[in-house]
């Protein structure tokens, strides 16, 4: 039995970390800006497509630029559109970002075509690693390492830098931060860019795992929403724990009840929300009450 469980749990953990990376950007944007960014999946897809083009033009090293371009685009979108939503009905933000996701998907089809594109891991990460019953591809291991490094880096940034402190303070009481002479709008542009940068990172990492298609955004956005809800809206730690939970639960459901594997994360969400309506690590936020 352990021979069956161990490989699935290991695989579920890797998948979970990728989900965490997709979800954490969404969580940060919601936690600090109060905007439910439905276009998050579209930024994820853009990360994959930019990586594809950069690889074709300049080779592997250039791929690292893709998330930065996505982050830059995110900042432009915040400056032009998203900042008009602050303090407004959350539904307006949902509609606007949903429209944005449709627009980005249509543009992707226009630029890169409607078909899928082949994209393989770099040659030095091709192949598999076997350890007892556990089998994992080298590339999935690399995704695990890179994701963990990104998450630690992000945690240090949010908790141990002045910018991070401003962000956290601004998310609780924007008015007070403004009175202290801090240019909050500029900070918020940075936050949206950071969220999109993380979506771009996930897109770049997922591109060699999955196939690059215009509809890949849809495959990323639903798990991301579920994870953010399970973890507690806006909670960084919550997104990590929930992402790993979703990864493992999905992998184990595939082993024992494959036809229910797509529904497993929703059942998990329903159960957790019944017990803890704010999610695992959800706090009471004055501004959303």
């Amino acid at each position: 039995m352990l021979d069956i469980l161990l490989p699935q749990i290991a695989n579920g953990l890797v998948l979970g970390f990728l989900y965490v990376l997709i979800a954490v950007g969404l969580s940060i944007i919601f936690g600090l800006l109060g905007v439910v960014n439905f276009a998050h999946g579209a930024f994820f897809a853009l990360g994959a497509y930019f990586a594809l083009s950069l690889y074709q033009w300049f080779g592997w090293p250039a791929v690292i630029l893709a998330p930065f371009i996505v982050g830059g685009l995110g900042m432009a979108v915040e400056f032009l559109l998203i900042r008009r939503l602050y303090g407004k009905e959350p539904l307006i933000g949902l509609i606007l970002t949903f429209a944005l996701s449709l627009l980005i998907e249509a543009l992707v089809r226009l630029v890169w075509g409607a078909g899928g594109h082949p994209f393989s891991p770099p040659p030095f990460l091709a192949g598999i690693v076997e350890y007892g019953p556990i089998l994992i591809t080298k590339y999935r291991l690399a995704v695990l390492v890179v994701t963990m490094a990104l998450l630690v880096g992000l945690w240090l940034f949010l908790n141990h830098t002045p910018f991070g402190r401003i962000l956290r303070a601004g998310s609780r009481d924007a008015e007070m931060v403004g009175m202290l002479g801090i240019n909050l709008p500029r900070v918020l542009t940075g936050v949206f860019g950071l969220g999109c940068f993380l979506a771009g990172c996930a897109g770049v990492l997922a591109a060699p795992l999955w196939t690059i298609t215009p509809s890949m955004a849809a495959g990323a956005i639903m798990p991301a929403f579920v994870i953010v809800t399970i973890g507690g809206l806006g909670s960084y730690l919550g997104a990590i724990v929930a992402g790993l939970l979703v990864g493992i639960v999905t992998a184990l459901t595939i082993q024992f009840m494959p036809e229910a594997s797509a529904a497993a994360m929703y059942v998990l969400m329903a159960v957790i929300l019944l017990v803890r309506p704010r999610g695992l690590f959800g706090e009471r936020w004055e501004r959303f009450e």
Binding site: Q8, N11, G113, A114, P118, I128, L135, Y139, T211, E259
Partner: protein, 419 residues
């Protein structure tokens, strides 16, 4: 600005007066009955198309349309001596496809419609075709009901159904091994593949190594692959639609399983493989047509050349389905005795297309296109940019077996109403 640019001194008032005279003249001409009759040969005839312009099915929609356009261009853009206008509407959902179908009939006044990238929209449109008595050909739908229980006199289908494709593929697969693992998407097509291939496996005395019904749209198959690896099957039968199959094959290769266990699927599309690259491409498949098949007719080869010239790459099976469907429609209309729905239906029923041995034709009692099917295998070493498959066999080999491969009246279950 009362004078025109060439300085001829003619004012806008002159221009308006002249335009008015031309318009009056035209109105007078159209009012005259005898003149219309003699000029009718030049009046464009409209044919409708309902294929995806957005969403998951966009690529297939574009290829079907590209193929259909080439068929029309090869017919010099006309049928029955009249120029043809193609009108292409979108099919975002079954309901919207029905509305667009209706619009084509009532507003655009088309004579026949080609449409449906998938079974859902095709079934929906077939129902409207019956109600509006509009000849309708679906090139790319595999659901049995279209020419089975839901058949109707105005609906024709070109693609082979899953049972037919399974019958073509299974005998070859049984020679590879008799312990099969099934991984099928949990919806009509996947369930059909499982039922049909399992029945074939039982017939050959084989054994099921395992079965996984996967959620439609699965992006990560790694956990399923771990299970398959543990089961050690001889063959993996994948009942997965395009995008899911691509993701499965890619991860199959990434996990080092390519070349160790053969993968098979009753129906494959070229773009499903092109989208994952030669390193991951593998498998044994059923396919309606392949552009480099040495048995292709001169018409097929002309189509391949025209398509490559227009689009810079060889035609996929979907492009061919669009081309073949439009070709059958134009041939049917040429043979029709009138442009009303019933006459075109009769024309389509009499179409026979030479395919180098077994002629393709629509069966009169269910309107399914009866034609050969190919069993193909991905080459072990891929060197060409586009040509990745070898044709292993043609099924059936003899014309007299064609009817049996497509199933008896009892099995199909179509009770066709009279026109």
């Amino acid at each position: 600005m009362s004078e025109n640019a060439n300085g001829s001194g003619r004012t806008r008032r002159h221009f308006l007066a002249d335009t008015g005279k031309v318009a009056l003249g035209a109105a007078a001409l159209t009012a005259g009955g005898p003149f219309i009759l003699s000029a009718r040969g030049e009046t464009p005839l409209k044919l409708g198309m309902v294929f995806a312009k957005q969403g998951t099915w966009t690529e297939q929609g574009e290829m079907l349309v590209n193929g259909a356009r080439i068929a029309l261009a090869q017919a010099k853009g006309q049928v029955l001596g009249r120029p043809v206008d193609l009108v292409w509407y979108d099919e975002p959902s079954p309901q919207a496809a029905q509305q667009n179908f209706q619009k084509l009939v009532e507003e655009e006044k088309v004579s026949a419609i080609l449409g449906g990238t998938n079974s859902g929209t095709s079934l929906a449109m077939a129902a409207i075709a019956k109600r509006l008595r509009m000849p309708y050909i679906t090139p790319n739908a595999a659901a049995r009901e279209i020419t089975g229980k839901e058949c109707n006199p105005f609906t024709f289908r070109v693609l082979t159904t899953t049972p037919v494709a399974s019958r073509a593929l299974a005998p070859y697969l049984a020679t590879v091994g008799k312990k099969w693992y099934f991984i099928c998407a949990s919806y009509a097509y996947g369930q059909d593949v499982y039922a049909q291939m399992k029945a074939q496996l039982d017939q050959f005395g084989g054994r099921e190594a395992g079965v996984d019904m996967t959620p439609l749209g699965t992006t990560d198959f790694s956990s399923f692959l771990l299970k398959i690896r543990q089961a050690k099957p001889d063959v993996i039968v994948a009942g997965l639609p395009g995008g899911d199959l691509s993701a499965f094959l890619k991860q199959f290769a990434d996990m080092g399983m390519k070349g160790k266990i053969p993968v098979a699927c009753p129906i494959i599309g070229d773009s499903d493989l092109w989208s994952i690259g030669p390193a991951a491409a593998t498998g044994i498949y059923g396919k309606p047509w392949h552009f480099s098949d040495p048995n292709n007719t001169k018409e097929d080869r002309a189509f391949t050349a025209d398509y490559a010239k227009a689009h810079g790459k060889p035609p996929s099976d979907k492009a061919w389905l669009g081309w073949f469907s439009m070709r059958s429609l134009l041939l049917g209309m040429e043979q029709a005795k009138g442009l009303d729905g019933a006459s075109i239906v009769r024309g389509l029923e009499s179409v026979s297309i030479d395919e180098g041995g077994i002629p393709a034709h629509y069966r009169t009692w269910d309107h399914q296109m009866l034609r050969k099917m190919l069993v193909v295998k991905v080459k072990d070493t891929i060197t060409d940019k586009w040509d990745w498959m070898d044709v292993l066999k043609v099924s059936p080999e003899r014309a007299e077996d064609l009817e049996a491969q497509f199933g008896s009246r009892e099995e199909i279950g179509c009770q066709m109403e009279s026109l």
